[in-house]
């Protein structure tokens, strides 16, 4: 099973190309902006300390799915979650449940979460992200 993985977090320059790639990932309905992005590049309390990326680490027992009242987030085989958008109320319990703060609010009040499609990895110019086979 393939997942989005961090190869070397120290190399992150905080450009956020991954975030914009995530918004463009749908070939039919790409978006311009960051509403739908399930990944976020941040500085480490100011850029003097460097930068990092935040996204779903594909938990085996995802707390976000456990608190979802409608089953919009379902555990995926091998880790992480499937997001069934039309079941989502926008309650954001999942955002509170995630220890990494890796679930984000969309413009319409629903959520954005990484589904490990790997699209962003092709746009990481500095070798921070990769899309690779991982052991289940």
């Amino acid at each position: 099973m393939k997942q989005l993985v961090v190869k070397d977090i120290e190399k992150c320059v905080g450009c956020g190309l991954c975030m914009y790639a995530c918004s463009r990932k749908s070939a039919k309905t790409p978006e311009i902006g960051n509403s739908k992005s399930g990944i976020l590049a941040v500085s480490l309390s100011g850029f003097e300390r460097g930068a990092t990326v935040i996204f779903c680490r594909a938990c085996k027992e995802p707390p976000c799915a456990q608190v979802c009242p409608t089953g919009a987030l379902k555990p995926k085989k091998g880790g992480g979650v499937v997001y069934i958008e039309n079941l989502c109320l926008g309650c954001k319990y999942c955002m509170d449940a995630c220890t990494l703060n890796a679930i984000f609010e969309r413009e319409d009040g629903k959520i954005a979460v990484c589904i490990h499609c790997g699209y962003c990895a092709s746009y990481c110019p500095h070798g921070v992200l990769a899309y690779e086979e991982v052991k289940a």
Partner: protein, 579 residues
């Protein structure tokens, strides 16, 4: 495309949002739109440090659709020149404004008490700024606000340091710690409005009209940026790579341009900084290049052994010139400490360096005494320059109050105009390449080397007539109005050709040919020139300090007659253009 304009009024702490498709369709964005908004909202005769001044921030249609469109244009009336102020910055400002849903933001009026503003999508919050007012270090201000405000990763945080509060006419606005609306004193305009900081965050989106083509054009731009040589210079050593070549070409202003060669250029070159000091690279939002070079400086505690402060300091060519060679500073650590001090107060590095270089020569010539300068300024003396930078901020006497108003002003009071290196009231950038660069500083509508790149023309062309030089500078500046209306980084000008721009517009639902683009560039230039004239600009009043004719450049000793002819021709051209 974003066509919303947010108008914030600090007089009564209110705001409104207007949809202005008319503006963005006709004038693209960035510079093109900012000129029109300034015309609408500001009296051209306004006092730059009053509530009548207006600040416009404008982004363009390619933000955040495509990479390298990571810049914001700020337009205002400059307290340094008393004329049009325009300054561009990277960081996260452009993407944050666009993701909050805006094409442009207008800030008018002045607050009675210190405030900072938070713009979050459709909402504006006016926050009490009294507690952070008076903190001179812009880095500390940034840290405090970062602790209090959400939006990590998606916010921009523009702020001023002490220089802006104290109305130093060349105070800058710093964003994301290391990028700046550097030139022409936007920091003082913030200060006069009692506006300490401006935070913008949002998570919005829009959609392309042609999804397939959009992703194709995106990939083309991305691939070109990372695979071709178009951005190589910025990707490797950064702009600091200019130091050695310019020095070899007799073009590196040194010791207040008493020379154009610096014997210690190797010590402060891009190569040396990369080898000994470069600690980290970071990027503006949505740019793969990461041209922001941060040096690591280790400073021991004064009285305790084996304790160190480790500071990250952003360097670029212009800072190396203005606080390095221009001040005769050839030690890397000394240079970095000067950059850090200027960064902390939120001063424009180029203006600060040129002002101090003039003051140093004025002291040596006896035009002013140590009674005025308070410290013995001498080229290469880092410790005294550090103190003098403190004084520019503190303004403890009349001399520093004048120096805080710019070199043209100070030399008007004390004398020494012939070696006060300002053009149109703006302290010069670091290129003593030939006639074209100086004509560019003088005629460029923001008196910046980036207006028309005269330094590049000097390096490309051996023989040129004064008329031809002016024509080529104006043509280049017209084209750059398109780049600064889009707003793409000027460093990506090799990628964003007319052909590519036209194709990149298509999937966003805009049809515009290369010819139409060029024409629009000329129109924006004309509009900006007109606004500048309304603010009092008269090309006949342009002057050129004698010093530039005394020092050998790449083109040998410069010729006053050449400059005079070029100026006469420019005066004629201006009349033709504005009609």
């Amino acid at each position: 495309m974003r066509d919303s304009v947010l108008i914030v009024d600090l007089n009564n702490y209110s705001y409104e949002i207007e949809q202005r498709p008319d503006l963005f369709e006709k004038w693209i964005g960035g510079t093109g739109v900012a000129v029109q908004l300034l015309k609408e909202y500001m009296d051209p005769k306004a006092d730059p440090l009053s509530g009548d001044n207006v600040i416009v921030f404008a982004t363009g249609p390619f933000t955040p659709a495509y990479p390298l469109a990571s810049k914001t244009v700020a337009m205002f009336k400059s307290p340094l020149t008393g004329n049009l102020g325009e300054s561009h910055a990277g960081g996260r400002t452009a993407t944050s404004i666009a993701n909050a849903g805006y094409g442009a933001i207008v800030i008018k009026g002045e607050s009675k008490k210190p405030v900072y503003l938070v713009i979050e999508n459709e909402k504006v919050y006016f926050r009490d700024g009294r507690v952070i007012w008076g903190i001179p270090d812009s880095l500390i201000v940034g840290r405090i606000i970062a602790e209090n405000e959400p939006g990590r990763g998606i916010r921009t945080m523009m702020r001023i340091g002490g220089a802006g509060e104290k109305l130093v006419r060349y105070a800058c606005v710093t964003t994301e710690t290391y990028r700046h609306f550097g030139r022409l004193g936007l920091g003082a305009v913030f200060g006069s409005k009692k506006l300490k900081a401006l935070i913008i965050r949002g998570r919005k989106k829009y959609t392309p009209v042609d999804p397939k083509k959009f992703r194709e054009v995106y990939d083309e731009i991305y691939r070109t940026a990372i695979e071709s040589d178009a951005m190589k210079k910025y990707h490797l050593l950064g702009t600091a790579s200019n130091v050695i070549p310019l020095n070899e070409l007799n073009s590196l202003p040194t010791r207040n341009l008493q020379s154009a060669r610096f014997e210690k250029a190797d010590e402060i070159s891009g190569e040396a900084l990369a080898e000994y000091s470069l600690g980290r690279r970071i990027a503006c939002s949505h740019c793969p290049v990461a041209c922001i070079h941060l040096a690591t400086l280790r400073i021991p505690y004064e009285n305790e052994p084996y304790f160190f402060k480790t500071i990250m300091i952003s360097y670029d060519y212009e800072l190396i010139y203005s606080l390095g060679s221009m001040l005769g500073v050839g030690s890397r650590d000394g240079l970095l400490r000067l950059i850090h001090r200027v960064e902390s107060y939120g001063l424009d590095a180029m203006s600060t360096g040129v002002c101090l270089a003039w003051a140093t020569e004025a002291l040596a010539r006896g035009i002013v005494s140590e009674k005025e300068t308070l410290v013995k300024l001498s080229f290469g003396d880092v410790e005294n320059y550090l103190k003098a930078i403190d004084y520019i901020y503190e303004q403890p006497n009349e001399f520093y109050r004048h120096l805080a108003m710019g070199v043209e002003h100070a030399s008007g009071i004390y004398g020494g105009k012939e070696f006060a290196l300002a053009f149109g009231g703006n302290e010069m950038p670091g290129y003593h390449t030939g006639h074209a660069t100086y004509l560019g500083y003088a005629t460029g509508l923001r008196h910046s080397h980036l207006d028309s790149a005269g330094y590049s023309l000097d390096q490309k062309v051996k023989e040129i007539t004064p008329e031809e030089a002016v024509d080529r500078l104006i043509a280049e500046e017209c084209w750059r109005q398109i780049l600064s209306s889009l707003v793409v980084c000027f460093f990506a000008r090799g990628i964003y050709t007319a052909d590519l721009i036209s194709r990149a517009f298509e999937p966003l639902g805009v049809e515009i040919t290369e010819e139409e683009l060029k024409k629009k560039g000329e129109e924006i230039y004309r509009e900006k020139l007109k606004l500048k004239i309304d603010m009092g600009f008269n090309p006949e009043n342009l002057t050129f300090p004698k010093r530039i004719f005394e020092v050998k450049s790449l083109h040998g000793t410069l010729n006053e007659e050449f400059i005079r002819k070029a100026k006469d021709y420019y005066v004629k051209k201006v009349k033709e253009i504005v009609g």
